[in-house]
C-alpha cells in the first residue's frame, strides 16, 4: 500500500498496516526531520523491521535532495539475513511502483568467515583463523612474493577482484550474504573485499553492532560513512552491555604467557629482518618520525582498523620517541608484561582507578602514559612491517596492547580489578586482571556525535527513560508502543505463593528453602499436564538451576514431569546446548511435548526464539538479578551513581526486569502466536518491579492475575486452555 505520511509518500509492501506500525513510522519520521536521535520500543512480531525500512527508504525517495544512508545494525548474522530479506521484498515493491528510480544498493557486511568463497580458507574452523588464512593469501607482500614464486598460494578471487580494480562494482539491488557469495562466485571476485569496497557507495548497509561500537573494528566505517546517515540499532536492549564489553579487557595468566611467546617470536623476526632487510625497519622508523599516517599508502587488504574511540589528538600526535625503534618498543612491552605478571601474583582483591594504575606502572616499569597510549598503534605498525600474516597467533600480545592503550587513554569510567580467584570457587587460584569499562556512553559516543540520527529500537526497552541516561545522549523522540491485537494472545501472570500458600522467591535468604523448590516443582508438574507442546523455564543462574534440578530429582518431581514431557537442559557447553535444543524442537514437533530448562542471561535467553508450539508457556523462576557481589558490578554501580545519579537498586531492578522481559518475550514472535507467561516470584507483585516490565506485557497483566498461588494459576491456565 502507498500512503502519505505528512510530506512523505510511504511505500509499504503489504496491503494492511497495523496502527502501531503507523505511529512508529510517524515518530521515526519526526526524528528524521529533526535530525535527532530516537528511542522506540515496540513488541516483537509487530513488523518493526519492515516499518522502519519502508519509512526510511521512502523518506529518501521523497527527499532526493538530501540522500540519507541507512546503517542497520543487528546482533546476529541470522537477523542480518532476515532484515535483508525483508528489504528485498520492499525493494521489489518499490521498483514495481516507481520504476528504476527506486533502485538502491543494499548490502550486508559480515566477517570473512561468512562471506569467503575460497574453500581452502573456509576450511579453518573459527573466525580468527579464517581471517589469518585470508591474510596469508592476500597480504601485499605475499602477493608480491607469489608473483615471483608460483608455489606460494594466493586467492584467485582476490586476484580477480584486484585485476578488475575499479570495474569491480555491484549493480544496484539488495544483496544478502548469500547473494553476495553467489555474485562473487559467479564473477570470480572476492565477496568480502567487494562488500567492503561497496559499503561506501551503498544506500543501505546491514551489519553487526561490532562494526560500529567496537573500536577495534569500527575503523572500517569511521572513514567511509557520511554524516547524513541514519544508524539503527535493532534489538538494542543490551546495547549498554555491548558497549561496555567493547572497551573491557581481561588479562589472565595464559594471556601473559602467550604474550611472552609472541614477544620472543617478534624478536626473532626483528633479528631476521635486521640480517636480511634492515632497510625496512629503518623505513618504518623514519615514517614514524615523520608522524605520517601509517596506512595512507598501503592497499586496503593490509589496512588495520583505526580506533575512533580514541581522542582525535592521538591520531595527530606522532608516536613518542622511545618506542619508535622496534627493539625499544619490544623492551617496553616486555616490561609491561613483567609488571602485569607481578600484579597478578597478589593474594587479595585489588581495585584501582586508571590514574593510579598508570602512576604505578610509571614508577615500577618506567613506562609513561603517553607511551602506553600508543602501544596499540605501534604494535600494528610493527606487525605490518614484519609482514606477519598469521595474526590469530598474536591475539595475546594484541590484548596486552589494547589494555595498555585503554589504560593510557581514559582516566574516567574505568577501573582495574585484580582478583586472585573466582568468588564462587575460592580454592582454585585463577588470577585475573580486568580493565572494566563502566561507562557505556564512551563507546557509543562517537556514533552519536558522528551521525545525524541514531535510532535505538527493541521489543524491550522499558523503562525507556533510563537508556538516554546510560548512554548519555538526548533523544528527540522516545516512545513505547503497544501491540494491537484482535485477541489476547499473551497471558502473563505473577505467581507469588505455592500450593501450600507459602511465598515463593529466589531471594537470597529463601533460596535454599526446600519448600520453595518443592513449590516450584509442583507448579511445573501441574503445568506440564495441561500445556501442550513446548514449555520453557528460565532460572536465575546455572548454579541455582543445578541445585533445584538436583532437589527435584531426589524428590521424584523430575520423574513426574517426565511422564508428561521430556526434559532438556541448557548447559554452559555450546555444543551440548545446541544438541539439547535440537532434540527439544524435535520433541515438540512430533507431539511428545518437552520442557526446556534454561538460564536467564544465557545464550538461549538471548538469541533463541521459542515461537509457536516451541513455547506455549514460559515460566520465569525468580528475578534474574546480577551477581551483586561481583567486584565489577559493584564498581559499575558506584560509577553510575556518581556520574549519572542512577541509584544502585534502580539499575539492578532495571537490568533484572529487562532480562526477565527478554526471556518471556522469547515465546511471542508474531501476532498469530500465543503463549502464557508465569513470573514465579513474590517480588514481581511489587509495584517497583512490575512497573519496569514493558508496556505490551503490562497491558495484558490483569489485576486479578497479580497475586496467585499455584492452584489459582492452574485454574487460569485451564481457563485460557480455551485459547490454546
Amino acid at each position: 500500500m502507498i500512503f502519505k505520511l505528512e510530506d512523505v509518500t510511504v511505500y509499504f509492501p503489504y496491503d494492511n498496516i497495523y496502527p502501531e506500525q503507523y505511529s512508529y513510522m510517524l515518530e521515526l519520521k519526526r526524528a528524521l526531520d529533526a535530525k535527532g536521535h530516537c528511542l522506540l520500543e515496540m513488541p516483537t512480531g509487530t513488523g518493526k523491521t519492515i516499518a522502519l525500512l519502508s519509512l526510511i527508504t521512502s523518506y529518501v525517495l521523497s527527499k532526493p535532495e538530501n540522500p540519507v544512508k541507512l546503517i542497520y545494525c543487528t546482533r546476529t548474522v541470522h537477523e542480518m539475513e532476515k532484515t535483508l530479506a525483508e528489504l528485498k521484498l520492499l525493494h521489489n515493491y518499490q521498483t514495481r511502483h516507481l520504476g528504476p528510480a527506486a533502485k538502491i544498493l543494499a548490502i550486508g557486511l559480515s566477517s570473512r568467515k561468512n562471506l569467503c568463497v575460497n574453500s581452502r580458507v573456509l576450511a579453518a574452523e573459527n573466525r580468527d583463523s579464517v581471517d589469518a588464512a585470508c591474510r596469508k593469501r592476500t597480504a601485499s607482500w605475499v602477493r608480491a612474493l607469489a608473483a615471483e614464486n608460483p608455489n606460494i598460494e594466493t586467492c584467485e578471487f582476490f586476484e580477480n577482484y584486484e585485476k578488475a580494480a575499479s570495474a569491480a562494482v555491484l549493480p544496484p539491488g539488495v544483496y544478502t550474504l548469500q547473494d553476495l557469495r553467489a555474485f562473487g562466485k559467479q564473477q570470480g571476485w572476492c565477496p568480502y573485499f567487494l562488500a567492503r569496497h561497496m559499503v561506501q557507495f551503498a544506500n543501505v548497509v546491514v551489519y553487526s553492532y561490532q562494526y560500529l561500537l567496537d573500536p577495534k573494528v569500527a575503523g572500517i566505517i569511521s572513514k567511509e560513512m557520511q554524516k547524513e546517515s541514519v544508524v539503527v540499532f535493532d534489538e538494542a536492549h543490551n546495547i549498554d552491555n555491548v558497549c561496555i564489553e567493547a572497551l573491557s579487557v581481561s588479562v589472565r595468566r595464559q594471556t601473559l604467557e602467550g604474550a611472552t611467546r609472541n614477544l620472543s617470536r617478534i624478536n626473532q623476526e626483528i633479528e631476521r629482518f635486521k640480517a636480511t632487510d634492515a632497510g625496512r625497519l629503518r623505513a618504518e622508523y623514519n615514517r614514524l618520525v615523520e608522524g605520517l599516517a601509517l596506512r595512507g599508502n598501503l592497499p586496503i587488504a593490509d589496512a588495520w582498523l583505526s580506533n575512533p574511540a580514541l581522542p582525535s589528538d592521538i591520531l595527530k600526535e606522532a608516536v613518542p620517541g622511545n618506542i619508535r625503534r622496534a627493539e625499544h618498543f619490544l623492551h617496553v612491552l616486555r616490561r609491561l608484561v613483567q609488571y602485569l605478571r607481578g600484579r597478578l601474583e597478589t593474594e587479595n582483591v585489588e581495585k584501582e582507578g586508571p590514574v593510579s594504575f598508570v602512576a604505578s606502572i610509571t614508577a615500577h616499569a618506567g613506562i609513561d602514559q603517553k607511551t602506553l597510549r600508543f602501544c596499540y598503534e605501534r604494535l600494528h605498525s610493527l606487525m605490518l612491517t614484519l609482514e606477519i600474516t598469521d595474526t590469530d597467533e598474536f591475539l595475546h600480545i594484541q590484548t596486552i596492547c589494547d589494555f595498555a592503550t585503554l589504560v593510557g587513554t581514559y582516566t574516567r569510567g574505568f577501573s582495574i580489578i585484580i582478583e586472585p580467584f573466582d568468588e564462587r570457587m575460592p580454592h582454585i587460584p585463577d588470577p585475573v586482571l580486568q580493565l572494566s569499562c563502566h561507562d557505556a556512553s564512551l563507546a557509543v559516543k562517537p556514533v552519536f556525535d558522528r551521525f545525524q540520527s541514531v535510532v535505538i529500537t527493541s521489543g524491550t526497552l522499558s523503562p525507556i527513560d533510563l537508556y538516554p541516561r546510560l548512554l548519555n545522549f538526548h533523544p528527540v523522540v522516545s516512545r513505547s508502543f503497544k501491540m494491537s491485537l484482535t485477541r489476547d494472545c499473551i497471558c502473563p501472570m505473577v505467581l507469588t505463593r505455592g500450593s501450600d500458600q507459602l511465598p515463593v522467591s529466589t531471594k537470597f535468604d529463601m533460596r535454599s528453602d526446600p519448600g520453595v523448590a518443592r513449590n516450584y516443582g509442583k507448579l511445573l508438574v501441574e503445568m506440564v499436564s495441561i500445556v501442550p507442546d513446548g514449555i520453557v523455564c528460565f532460572f536465575v543462574s546455572y548454579s541455582y538451576m543445578d541445585e533445584i534440578i538436583a532437589t527435584w530429582n531426589d524428590s521424584g518431581i523430575l520423574k513426574e514431569i517426565m511422564q508428561h514431557k521430556l526434559v532438556f537442559i541448557e548447559t554452559q557447553d555450546v555444543v551440548e546446548t545446541t544438541l539439547a535444543l535440537d532434540n527439544y524442537r524435535k520433541a515438540c514437533d512430533c507431539g511428545r511435548g518437552a520442557v526446556f530448562f534454561s538460564v536467564a542471561r544465557g545464550k538461549v535467553a538471548e538469541g533463541i526464539d521459542f515461537d509457536r508450539h516451541y513455547g506455549r508457556l514460559v515460566i520465569m523462576f525468580g528475578v534474574p538479578f546480577q551477581y551483586t557481589l561481583s567486584k565489577i558490578l559493584l564498581a559499575r554501580l558506584e560509577y553510575l551513581r556518581d556520574t549519572f545519579q542512577i541509584k544502585e537498586g534502580d539499575f539492578l531492578t532495571f537490568d533484572a526486569l529487562r532480562q526477565a522481559a527478554q526471556c518471556v518475550g522469547r515465546v511471542i514472535r508474531s501476532k498469530a502466536d500465543y503463549g502464557m507467561m508465569i513470573f514465579a516470584d513474590k517480588r514481581y507483585s511489587r509495584h517497583d518491579k512490575r512497573s519496569k516490565l514493558p508496556g505490551w506485557i503490562l497491558s495484558h497483566l490483569r489485576d486479578a492475575h497479580l497475586n496467585l498461588s499455584t492452584d489459582m494459576a492452574l485454574h487460569i491456565a485451564r481457563e485460557v486452555g480455551n485459547f490454546y
Partner: protein, 388 residues
C-alpha cells in the same frame, strides 16, 4: 471479572452459569416459552449461510475410522462426568447422524490405550453394533500414541476399493503422543494413501495434530465444552468435498436386495442365526442379510436400498441458501405474504413488529427461520419450488 465467580466451576457447569439461559426465555401469550434474544440463533443461521453451497463433487461413499483416545487424559473431569463419557455419548449421536446422512458409507472404531491402538469394530454399516461395542469398552489408562493409531488405520484403510473416501476422525484427549518411531513418516504414508485425517482435540491445540490435518487435508478443531464438542463432531457428518484425484467418474456395482417375505425362515449370513421374516436377500447369491446397507458376506456385493441412494443425493444438489428479507411494513404486497409458506405461522413477531425472515431465491416464497433450518438440514427440498 468473571474469573472470581467461575473459580471452582468446571467446564460443564460454566456453560450454564455463563449463559444464564433461563433468563433468555419468556412466556408468550399462549404459554409457550420463547427466547427473548434471538441474536445467537440468528448468528448460527448466518454462519450456516456462509458455507459454500456450490455444486461440488462430494465423496458419498465414505470409509471412516473413528479413533477414540482412551489414554490417562481421557479420565480428566473437566467435562462431566469425564472426557471419556462425553466422547462416548457424542460418538453415539454422531454414528447415528452419520448413517442418516451417509447411508452408503461405513464406519469402524479404533481405541488407543496404553500406547497401543486396538481395532474395536471393523468397517460396517450398522450403527447399533458400533455403539454396543464402544459402550462395552470404556475405561482408560496409559499414554496415547498417535502414530500407532494412524499406522493401524492406514493398514486397514489401504484395502478398501479406490472409489471410497478414506477418512479418519481422531478424538484426542491427551496433550502428547508417545510414539515408537518417526510420526512424520506415518503422516507421509497417510498422505500418500489419500487418507483424510481430522482431529478434534479435547484439551488444547497441539502442533502435531495441526500438522497432520494440514498435510492430509483434514480439519482440526479444539472443543471448549460439551456443546461445542457436539457441534464440532457433527460438522463431520456431511460428506466432505471429493479429493481431486478421485474425482474421475466410475461405475460401482451395487445390489438392491429384496425384502424377505413375512414368515419365511432362513439363516442370516451376518449373525449365523435362524431368523423369521426379517432381512433381505442378496440378488446375486441369494444369501440373507439382516440390515442394509452392507456388503454381502458371501459374494461381496455392495447391498443398498434405493432410499439410501436417494438420501445421499441431496448432498450433491443442495438447495440454495435463502436470502434474508428486511421487511417493509407499509408494503401492501408484503402484508399479503406475512405468513410462512412452510408452517403458515405469522411472520410478524410479537407486537406486530416484523421479525427476521427469509425467501427462497427461486420461488420467492417466504419462510420463517425455523422452517429455513428444517428445509436445509432435514427436508433437503424447498416446498415452494416443489409446489410450483
Amino acid at each position: 471479572e468473571d474469573e472470581d465467580d467461575n473459580l471452582g466451576l468446571e467446564a460443564w457447569e460454566r456453560s450454564y452459569a455463563d449463559d444464564r439461559s433461563w433468563e433468555a426465555l419468556q412466556e408468550d401469550e399462549s404459554g409457550f416459552l420463547r427466547p427473548i434474544d434471538n441474536s445467537a440463533f440468528y448468528h448460527a443461521q448466518y454462519r450456516r449461510r456462509l458455507r459454500t453451497t456450490a455444486r461440488i463433487q462430494k465423496g458419498l461413499i465414505r470409509y471412516l475410522y473413528i479413533v477414540i483416545d482412551l489414554s490417562r487424559a481421557a479420565a480428566e473431569m473437566d467435562f462431566r462426568p469425564s472426557r471419556m463419557a462425553v466422547v462416548a455419548k457424542q460418538v453415539e449421536a454422531f454414528v447415528r447422524e452419520f448413517f442418516d446422512q451417509n447411508p452408503l458409507s461405513q464406519i469402524g472404531l479404533v481405541t488407543v490405550k496404553d500406547g497401543v491402538a486396538n481395532c474395536l469394530t471393523d468397517l460396517g454399516g450398522s450403527p447399533e453394533s458400533h455403539i454396543k461395542a464402544l459402550m462395552g469398552k470404556l475405561g482408560c489408562s496409559g499414554d496415547s500414541s498417535l502414530q500407532n493409531a494412524l499406522d493401524l488405520v492406514q493398514g486397514l484403510l489401504s484395502q478398501i476399493p479406490s472409489y471410497g473416501h478414506r477418512e479418519v476422525l481422531i478424538l484426542y484427549s491427551a496433550l502428547s503422543t508417545c510414539d515408537p518411531g518417526d510420526i512424520m513418516e506415518t503422516i507421509q504414508k497417510c498422505k500418500e494413501s489419500k487418507i483424510r485425517c481430522s482431529v478434534i482435540g479435547l484439551s488444547a491445540e497441539m502442533f502435531i495434530c495441526k500438522h497432520l490435518c494440514q498435510d492430509t487435508g483434514g480439519s482440526y478443531s479444539v472443543a471448549l465444552d460439551e456443546s461445542h464438542f457436539k457441534e464440532l463432531i457433527m460438522e463431520h457428518a456431511p460428506p466432505p468435498p471429493a479429493i481431486a484425484e478421485f474425482a474421475i467418474a466410475n461405475l460401482i456395482k451395487m445390489g438392491f436386495p429384496q425384502r424377505a417375505g413375512e414368515g419365511s425362515i432362513s439363516i442370516c449370513s451376518c449373525h449365523k442365526e435362524v431368523k423369521v421374516g426379517v432381512g433381505y436377500t442378496c440378488p446375486r447369491c441369494k444369501a440373507r442379510v439382516c440390515e442394509l446397507p452392507t456388503d454381502c458376506r458371501i459374494c461381496g456385493l455392495q447391498l443398498v436400498s434405493s432410499p439410501h441412494l436417494a438420501r445421499s443425493y441431496h448432498h450433491l444438489f443442495p438447495i440454495a441458501p435463502f436470502d434474508e428479507v428486511t421487511p417493509l411494513l407499509n408494503d401492501p404486497r408484503n402484508r399479503s405474504r406475512s405468513t410462512c409458506f412452510g408452517c403458515q405461522q405469522s411472520l410478524l413477531s410479537s407486537g406486530n413488529k416484523p421479525g427476521l425472515y427469509v425467501a427462497c431465491p427461486k420461488c420467492k416464497k417466504h419462510f420463517c427461520l425455523e422452517c429455513d433450518i428444517y428445509i436445509h438440514e432435514s427436508l433437503h427440498n424447498c416446498p415452494g419450488c416443489e409446489s410450483l
